[in-house]
Amino acid sequence: MKRLLSIMLTVLLAASLAPAIATASSETYELALVTDLGTIDDRSFNQGSWEGLVQYAEENGISYKYYQPKEQSDDAYLDSIQLAVESGAKLVVTPGFLFETPVFIAQDMYPDVNFVLIDGNPHSADYAEYRTESNAVGIIYAEEQSGFLAGYAVVKDGYTKLGFMGGMAVPAVVRFGYGFVQGAEYAAKELGIDGVSVNYHYTGAFAASPEAQALAATWYNDGVEVIFGCGGKLGNSVMAAAEAAADKWVVGVDVDQSSESDRVITSAVKGLRESVYQAIDAAYKGEFPGGEAWVLGADRQGVGLPMEASKFTAFTQDDYDAIYAKLVAGEVSLKKDADAESADELSSDIVTVTVVK
């Protein structure tokens, strides 16, 4: 019982002496980002969005800060949004679709604060209500265009045996995959070749796993030259397999992944940085696109390939600019996730898609 008393005293002491010191007013930070699962330097959503925020803040001399939730849950994410707002945030960037519900609540709670939700649109926890208030914007990307560019580029560069390995068959990943197949077909048509093959598989998880690496290695062994590793850390498994084989390549995803492995030939990126920058810029110009759901395609620099970091031999910047212009002009119509049940429906005389279960 003495110990009980002792520890009780201690906690009381710690709790009571502290607020006295801490009452001084805090600094405020106008631009805020709340991180999704993972850290700010995740070379993915957090980092990409953060770079856009930092760029705008530095250029315009605005205070900025990011906040990390204590755990991965809607409540904890919402709590961090609150922490950001209490610390003076006027605009909060939330990268990742896991913020859909927290932002749905926060947009009502803080009508004076603007929210930029990347890769999703606000909805209630039970998906019953989709609603974007005038102080929030949801940004999603035309992944099929990004995948299209990647597929087009690798076939143009001379590869014909391709693979697509997605994490899970969620709409964004499916759009990437379908775009990749269609890009390959488009390039093959231009080149007048046929016999392009695409092995197509969803691993079922966005995590790196030995199974994924083993499957990638098998594909490479069977002659596949380039695999599009589409989904979080899954790409690392594919890169590991590519590194173990000779002359095999990987297409990265979401952000420029060339620094992850020298086997990354290019990356099918989303313009996280650009879109965050655009959204903040609009807000400060008094043109915040509140209530909108942006779908960013090539027309708004929402997708692309990082050409300077790519390792193409035949595919040039001019080729890229040409196909990009076609996308911007809307000259290429692409099938999206809702347009085909399964990837093998995209097979044609030119491209054979083999779905691996």
Binding site: K2, R3, S26, D74, A207
Partner: protein, 389 residues
């Protein structure tokens, strides 16, 4: 005069309290040094924010600290209970996640149980599964003399991977978010705590995540205290922990004690998992990731800081959650979250040196004693001398 008993300058309880306080102050001091090193301008306010913990966030913040303390109390009890029996239960992360999954599976499948009781059934399932996961290393230790640390670590990984596999192949899987589904029907009830621990945000009543689980954790700590200190069973367990030869000599079945001790510890961790993950949409879900539960491992410093005493563990878990919550609010200043993680870890682990501190205080105390004794004797001698003059 010769047999006069010397009064202990400090009471034993005071020594205990002092050692814990000093340990915590040392922890805060080291944390302060890191604060100074990374951002001197805000260091004083920083340490204030850390020490204020949940109070930074008003009643909601306090509630959050209680919410994060709930599983820590239980894993702390789990580890501390085994310490008392002479075992090192490093298997709490595995027991926790296995228990959590069992709870969620029942929550998702036992739809015939009415909703107000479903959480209870799910929590029982979590306790049972955790107990099973604790019993495995217990059996290995008792039957084959495999060291429990080895078996527990193995069971952590087996448990984590097995749960990942089972989630994906169960109807409790949400493939879009790669996690378990919402446990709205089987969520631990709030038990009125959301009416106490909330903050007003405009017209919103922003309730803390704390729920009735904290009552369960507190009650179990009291139960463990009674078991350890008031029952025949506890007497046997502690005897085994303190001297296995003497307990064998006394006819206590050591193997039974080992098995039961780890089984009970496992069920405590399993309940911790149940309380964490039996949550509605806004709460935690088991993510299919290859990471061992931090709440499981944090039971170790909690048990150490609480000196393995169940009541002490309540307070040490509250303290750890309090400081951790303080670190969260430290984000209001310029500090980077990574630095904050380091600072908080340093404070907690330094504080866990309470035992060492206690020894140091014992030494200082005996020195003080002898010094004051000398002074008294000196006085007596002087009086003696003056008499002779």
């Amino acid at each position: 005069m010769t047999n006069r008993k010397r009064v202990n300058v400090f009471g034993a309880g005071f020594t205990s309290a002092l050692s814990s306080i000093i340990a915590i102050l040392v922890g805060l001091a080291v944390g302060f040094v890191i604060l100074l090193a990374t951002n001197p301008a805000q260091a004083v306010r920083g340490v204030g924010i850390i020490a204020s913990g949940g109070f930074n966030g008003g009643m909601k913040g306090v509630g959050q600290a209680l919410y994060y303390a709930t599983p820590l109390i239980l894993t702390g009890l789990s580890v501390g209970f085994c310490f008392k029996t002479g075992l090192f239960n490093i298997g709490a992360p595995g027991q926790l996640i296995v228990g959590a999954f069992a709870g969620i599976w029942v929550g998702a499948n036992a739809s015939w149980i009415p909703s107000p009781l479903l959480w209870l059934a799910a929590l029982l399932a979590a306790a049972l599964a955790g107990a099973l996961w604790g019993a495995i290393p217990g059996l290995f230790k008792a039957m084959l003399n495999v060291h429990e640390v080895i078996a527990c670590i193995m069971c952590n990984y087996i448990g984590m991977y097995a749960v990942n596999y089972l989630i994906k192949n169960s109807n409790a899987y949400d493939p879009l978010k790669n996690q378990t589904i919402d446990m709205t029907r089987a969520a631990i009830p709030k038990a009125g705590l959301d009416k106490i621990f909330y903050s007003l945000k405009g017209r919103f009543m922003d309730a803390s995540s704390v729920n009735g689980g904290i009552y369960i954790a507190l009650a179990l700590a009291v139960v463990m205290y009674i078991i350890l200190n008031k029952t025949v069973f506890g007497y046997e367990l502690k005897a085994c922990g303190l001297n296995r030869y003497a307990s064998k000599y006394a006819g206590i079945q050591e193997k039974r004690s080992i098995l039961l001790s780890l089984t009970i510890a496992g069920s405590l961790s399993g309940i911790a998992g149940g309380l964490m993950y039996l949550a509605p949409a806004g709460g935690l879900h088991i993510n299919v990731v290859e990471t061992l539960s931090a709440q499981g491992f944090n039971g170790i410093p909690v048990a150490l800081l609480g000196l393995s005493n169940p009541i002490g563990i309540i307070f040490s878990a509250l303290f750890v959650a309090h400081i951790d919550q303080g670190g969260y609010y430290l984000q209001r200043l310029e500090y980077m979250p990574q630095i904050i993680d380091i600072i908080i870890a340093v404070i907690i682990y330094f504080s866990a040196f309470a035992l060492l501190m206690r020894q140091a205080i014992g030494a200082i105390q005996s020195r003080l004693n002898s010094r004051s004794a000398k002074r008294r004797e000196g006085l007596a001698d002087a009086q003696e001398a003056s008499k002779h003059d």
